[in-house]
Subunit: 148 residues, 2 copies
């Protein structure tokens, strides 16, 4: 494996900008430079499983980037919680495929950034689709929706 590029992100916002730029460019190397290393990083793609550890997260982005078109991602409605070593952004992603006229897909995301020896990196990306009408036949899912 080639040595990892040591690109510094001086602030959580710099890391977040780099995260979404890599996402839009479908650039796996750039994406993984933004991620913190280690076994405790967590990534939940919309309606996806909870992935833990750098390698599982890398594999998931590789699958996303190799199988699909590049997307436009507009980020808005951020709530920000900033500490000296841990920072959080709660955002809404509006995702569209270029060249299509369909409405954007909205995704709720919670992004956690941590200060490492090489700058701020993302340690948690938790994304989920917003409210959906539960199909009538899925009683159990509908119940959970109501319960919590």
């Amino acid at each position: 494996m080639p040595p990892r590029t040591r690109k510094l992100f001086p602030t959580p916002d710099d890391a977040e900008t780099a995260f979404y730029e890599a996402f839009e460019r479908a650039d796996l190397a750039a994406m993984m430079v933004v991620w913190a290393e280690g076994e405790d990083v967590v990534c939940v793609h919309p309606s996806g499983p909870r992935l833990t550890g750098f390698e599982a997260v890398r594999e998931s982005w590789m699958q996303i980037f190799t199988s699909n078109v590049k997307l436009n991602v507009r980020v808005s409605e951020a709530s920000r919680f900033d500490g000296p070593s841990v920072a959080v952004r709660s955002v809404v992603e509006a995702i569209t495929a270029p060249g299509t006229e369909s409405s954007p897909q909205f995704v709720n995301a919670t992004n956690v950034y941590v200060l490492t020896d090489s700058g701020w990196r993302i340690a948690v990306h938790h994304a989920s689709p917003p409210e959906q009408a539960a199909p009538p036949e899925e009683d159990e899912a509908a119940q959970l929706h109501t319960l919590h």
Copy 2:
């Protein structure tokens, strides 16, 4: 409105324990003591909308607690990111209704705690159901699932 109880949570873990105890007891007052005040707190219930602000969050828990039975919540698989003023727990919740023999419903949750003048409080609770098979007719949702 009566004066708010000032119950201190000396650590993020104390706040998290109080959060899930209030959840299991369906105790709205105890739940809202754990939440930070203000307009930037965020709560996403599974498959629900992104709620922002203390009052919207309070309203959602009131609806959950008044309309349903009490639940058992077992929390596991935590990734922890601790700073002096912001802390994060990424957990899996296993939710069961007492007296039933059904399997637990699993929920991925990202919880953000902030240090306030009156101790640690929860500022973000982002919960989402884990991987679900997309119904064949929901092409758009299935596409988003694959894309991100």
